[in-house]
Amino acid sequence: MPALAIRAYTATTAVGRGRDAQADALATRRGGLRRNDFGAAPLPTWIGRVDGLEDSPLPAHLAGWECRNNRLAWLALQQDGVPAVLDALVARHGAERIALVVGTSTSSIGASEEGYARAAATPDGTLRMPEDLQRPIVHTPHSLGDFLQHATGLRGPCVTVATACSSSAKVFAQAARLIQAGVADAALVGGVDTLCGSVLFGFNALGLVSAEPCRPFDATRDGLSLGEAGGFAVLEGLAPGEDAPLQLRGYGESSDAHHMSAPHPHGLGATLAMRDALARAGIDAAQVGYLNLHGTSTPANDAIEARAVAALFPDTLHASSTKGWTGHTLGAAGIVESVFALLALEHGLLPGILNSATPDPGCGPQIRFDNARRDIAFAMNNSFGFGGNNCSLVFGTGAAA
């Protein structure tokens, strides 16, 4: 595929707001998980919660989109100069030539849950949605995309991708197609997911939630920690002769065709996505310097992903899951972990794995618990979702072109 320039990138997670907070937390191994304090009757688990959302209402002109998820979207959007970069792109191309492709798993369903919890009975016995939540836009998946369209004024194709935990990785692929096909010149991509009852109690019902902070790839891992996060990247086609310092070089997408909530036993879908991404980038597996794994810390996911990685990459690869820092941020995992891959490219900071101490003998030498520092030319990110929905991304430095 034609490489795309990354003009800006940012993430806001449980470890803090913006890129510097993420880089600092990764470098100093400062995690963001805390005991679950979300909701009326918290389950005994650990979560990656973003501080301050309760005290950060949306600006008055955007109050119609008010909800926790859009608050996090707004907060994340203000970091790392993203609005200024968008302004420059609008001046260069026109607002109608900039696409907005964002991912989420549950969007603002937290607002719908709140409406049911606070519903009042009417005299005829039926329930009535609270007045302040009688806003159809916050009860639909496109709440996120529609909010961001109004918040940014972008007028290109605007779409919300909701393929569970691969959502905000797939946004890079969809935006790349829009630019390659000439429908757009640039794109704001990203993803936002916030903690809500649906995911906390839903993953609990599937028996996938740990009572302790998650321990990806540890021999004793017993489930995931949920988190919330938002992040964005701005993509633009390269100018003739340009060699941008950070680039999207490839994407790969596949389906497991196996099960709604369990990975393919041989990691076939994951392997197809990784191979497809490498092929589109035109590089060999040995050229990848860092791979951010999906690494949810469930027994099945990590074992299968590690085997797929061992079959494809040399022992020298540094691969890790960063979910011990942020928790599993679901539909935001794709953008958050792409930001971590871009930080690895920009600063040579290769994160290890937090909270894990005992290597799983079933996982290969690519899985690294300790941080490392090394300049690399290519970084990858894996994101796999329910429904067997897989996406891998390859990022590169300009000098590596």
Partner: protein, 259 residues
């Protein structure tokens, strides 16, 4: 923008009373309704026990997707796919919210994994054994237009044929007092780079698309996916153009050749 193009190689359709594309086309042309139309779509791709348990969104999506593949003579396992739905399965959303408000630890694990927006996409790839890419998108009233754009950009950059599936369900419970969508509606297109069939050329333009008022659009206007019916009415009538709402006072203008 540069114009995108695609050939419609196969069409699937299901709504209450119009259980396939032949019935929908006949209704659009002369107003006739088939006798004894089935009350529910039949997703033959699923095993019989799964077929009975499938949520309405999954049932209608898999029914029309398979019909479009059969019409195009394409193996479902060979096609990348795009699933477009404004709201996903509204009955499951109502169940999730009501259960969370009552006894959250009673959430059914199956209902939870069926609550993801890509549930139909997941069941489709599992049922057909398809390992190609699939996606699930939403864009409010522009959902179908954005799904069509994604399918057509896949054709322009990668694939030689793509399956596009669009559907919405009935809003129920407390959610149904705020979100309005009635009946079950689904349609699917197999779009190909070339070959026999109507030829679509798509361009994004400024301005709001006119409210669709063809026979299918009028009959099914209460469903959230009704904006797509401007295209299906045009295909049924052999019209030369259609326009779809594409968001932010933009429209996707479609020229249709060789119907």
């Amino acid at each position: 923008m540069s114009t995108l193009s695609a050939t419609v190689a196969g069409i699937g359709f299901w709504s209450d009373g119009l259980p396939d594309w032949a019935a929908a086309r006949a209704f659009a042309r002369d107003g006739g309704l088939p006798a004894n139309a089935p009350a529910k779509p039949s997703p033959h791709l699923l095993a019989p026990n799964e077929r009975r348990r499938a949520p309405p969104s999954v049932a209608v999506a898999l029914d029309v997707a398979l019909a479009a593949c059969q019409g195009a003579g394409r193996d479902p396992a060979s096609l990348p796919s795009v699933f477009a739905s404004t709201h996903g399965d509204l009955g499951i959303t109502d169940y999730m919210c009501a259960t969370l408000a009552d006894t959250p630890t009673d959430i059914s694990p199956t209902k939870f994994h069926n609550s993801v927006h890509n549930a139909a996409a997941g069941y489709w790839t599992i049922g057909s054994g398809c390992m190609r890419t699939t996606t699930a998108i939403s864009a409010y009233r522009a959902t179908f237009a954005q799904g069509l754009l994604e399918a057509m950009t896949q054709l322009a950059t990668d694939a030689d044929a793509v399956l596009l599936v669009a559907y919405d369900t009935t809003a129920t419970g407390l959610l149904g007092t705020v979100t309005h969508s009635e009946g079950l509606l689904g349609a699917a297109l197999v779009l190909a780079r070339d070959g026999a069939g109507p030829r679509l050329s798509a361009t994004l333009r400024d301005g709001d698309a006119p409210v669709a008022d063809g026979p299918l659009a009028r009959r099914l206007q209460a469903n959230a996916m009704a904006p797509m019916l401007a295209l299906f009415d045009a295909l049924a009538a052999g019209a030369a153009s259609a326009s779809l709402p594409a968001g932010a006072h933009r429209q996707l203008a479609l020229d249709i050749a060789g119907v």
